[in-house]
C-alpha cells in the first residue's frame, strides 16, 4: 500500500488530497468535489496537463496567436507537444477554436487557437 499527498489543480481552491493506492484500488481523501477525486486518480496513474503557448501568425497586426491543447495530454508529452508548437506558423485570420495542429505529438489531441486574430488592417 502506498500513500501520496497531492494538491488538486482542478480549481483555485487547491485542496490537499491524500491518495491511497492498494494495487488496483485507489482511494482519495481531502477533496471537496468530484473533480479532486478524478484528478488524484489520474495524477497517480496517468498524469495529464493542458498545454498553453503561442504560435507566430503572419498577415496580422499582432505577432502571435495564443493556443492550447484542446484537452489535457500526458504530462510526459508536454515538451514533444511544445516542439511542434514552436515550429509552426499560421496565417491570419484565425478564430478561437481553429485547429492549429492536429493530433499534436501523437497524443490524439489537437492544438487550437484561443484568440481571434483578424487579418492586418
Amino acid at each position: 500500500m502506498e500513500t501520496r499527498n497531492l494538491t488538486c489543480i482542478g480549481c483555485p481552491m487547491g485542496c490537499a488530497l491524500t491518495v491511497t493506492m492498494d494495487g488496483e484500488n485507489i482511494t482519495v481523501a481531502g477533496n471537496t468535489c468530484p473533480v479532486g477525486e478524478k484528478y488524484a486518480k489520474k495524477e497517480v496513474t496517468n498524469p495529464t496537463r493542458v498545454v498553453t503557448s503561442s504560435v507566430r501568425v503572419n498577415g496580422a497586426d499582432i505577432a502571435r496567436v495564443s493556443v492550447k491543447t484542446a484537452s489535457d495530454i500526458p504530462k510526459n508529452k508536454i515538451f514533444d507537444c511544445m516542439a511542434e508548437i514552436m515550429k509552426i506558423e499560421v496565417n491570419a485570420p484565425v478564430s478561437i477554436g481553429d485547429v492549429i495542429i492536429e493530433n499534436c505529438a501523437g497524443t490524439g489531441v489537437s492544438v487550437v487557437a484561443t484568440k481571434n486574430v483578424p487579418s492586418a488592417t
Binding site: 483555485p12 490537499a16 505577432a63 504530462k75 484561443t114 484568440k115
Partner: protein
Amino acid sequence: MKQYDIVVIGGGPAGLAAAISAKKAGVSDIMILERDATLGGILNQCIHNGFGLHTFKEELTGPEYAARFIEQAKEMEIPYKLGAMVLSVSPEKVITYMNKEEGLVQISAKAIILAMGCRERPRGALNIPGFRPAGIYSAGTAQRLMNIEGYSVGKEVVILGSGDIGLIMARRMTLEGANVKVVAELMPYSGGLKRNIVQCLNDFNIPLKLSHTVVGIDGEKRITGVTIAEVDANRQPIPGTEVHYDCDTLLLSCGLIPENELTREIGVEMNRVTSGPNVDDKLQTGVEGVFACGNVLHVHDLVDHVSAEAALAGENAAAYVLSGTTSEKTHKITLKAENGVRYTVPQTIDVENMRDSVTVRFRVADIYHDRSIAVYYGDKKVMSRKKRVLAPGEMEQVQLKKDSFKDYPDITEITIRTEEA
C-alpha cells in the same frame, strides 16, 4: 461638452463586465474608455488556462475569457474607444481623455465606473541593491513581450516573488526552452495559488525558496547573476546564507498595486490596506455616482471574482443614473477587519437600501490552519465558518443577508475576524 450616462474607465475584464451589466440594467448611453489598442486588458497576455471556472463553468485561457465579454459587449452595441488615455477626472465628473483620432477631449458623465486595474510593483519599490543592468523585468512585462510581441527576454532565469504571474512565467519560459533556476519568495508562504505551484513549479522541478530574497544584482550592462539569501522573521537577510546564481534574466513578481492616480484626483477616500478607494455595498466611492470594481478596488485572485464584482458595480451605476440619486443613507454600518483579516470590500453597508445579500470580500494576513472566519454584528457572533487552510494569496468571501440584520436594528459595526476553530 458631450455628456454620457455612464463612462467606464478601462476596457479590461472589470470594465467590460460593468458596462454589460449596466446596459442590461437599462442604461444605454455608455462609453468605455480603453487606453490600450484592444479591449480585454491584461487577459490578452494571460494565455494560460484556469479562467472562468466560476463564471462559465469551464476552464478557459485569458484571451478566450476576454473574448466572451468582448463579443457580448459588441453584440449589445456598447460604445468604446481604444487608445483613449484618461488624463484626469474631476469631482464634477468631467473626464479629460486623449487619443490619436480626436486629440484632447472633455466629456462628462452622470456616473463613472473606475476599472483601471493594477500595475506591478517595480524593482525600485523593492529596494533591491546592486547594479541596474538590462534583463530585469517585472513578470508581466516579460509576459507581454513573449505572448503579445513574440520575443523571449532571456534563457537563464531567476524569479523573485511567487505571485501568480511569476509562477505562470516560470512555466511559460521553461516551455519555451529557458532554464528557470529558482523562485525566491521573501515571505514564508507563496502569494500565488497552490495549483500554480504544482503545475508551474513542481511539474518542472523548479525549486521554490520561501523566506529568501535577492540581496545583490551583478552585471553592469546585462544582468549576469544574482545573490539570494535567506531572511529572518523580520525579513532581514541572514548573513552567511548567500547563494549565487548565474543568470541573464531576473523576473520580479512581488505584488500588484491598484492604479488609483485618477481616483485620488477625484478626491475620494482611499484605503491604506487595499490601496483602492473605500466603497459601500453598492461599490460606490465617497463621491456620489463614482463606482469602482476589479483590481483598481482591491487586487483579486481570480478574474471570475472581478467579473462578478464589476457586474454589481455596473448594475448599481445604472440604478443611480435611472433614479437620479443615491438613496439617503439611513443605517450605515462600518465593516471592521481584525485578527488576521486584513481588510474588507465593501467597507460600509447601508442596510436600509442594500440588496437581499451582499458579498464581502477580503484577504487574510498569513497562512492559517484550521481556523474559522467569524462575523460579528456588534459584539454578537452571527456566523462562523471553519476553514482547513486560509492563505493570503487567496481571496475569501462571506455573504451577508439583508434579513439577517432584522434582529440587529442598532448595530453600527460588523467585525470579520479569524478565530481558533
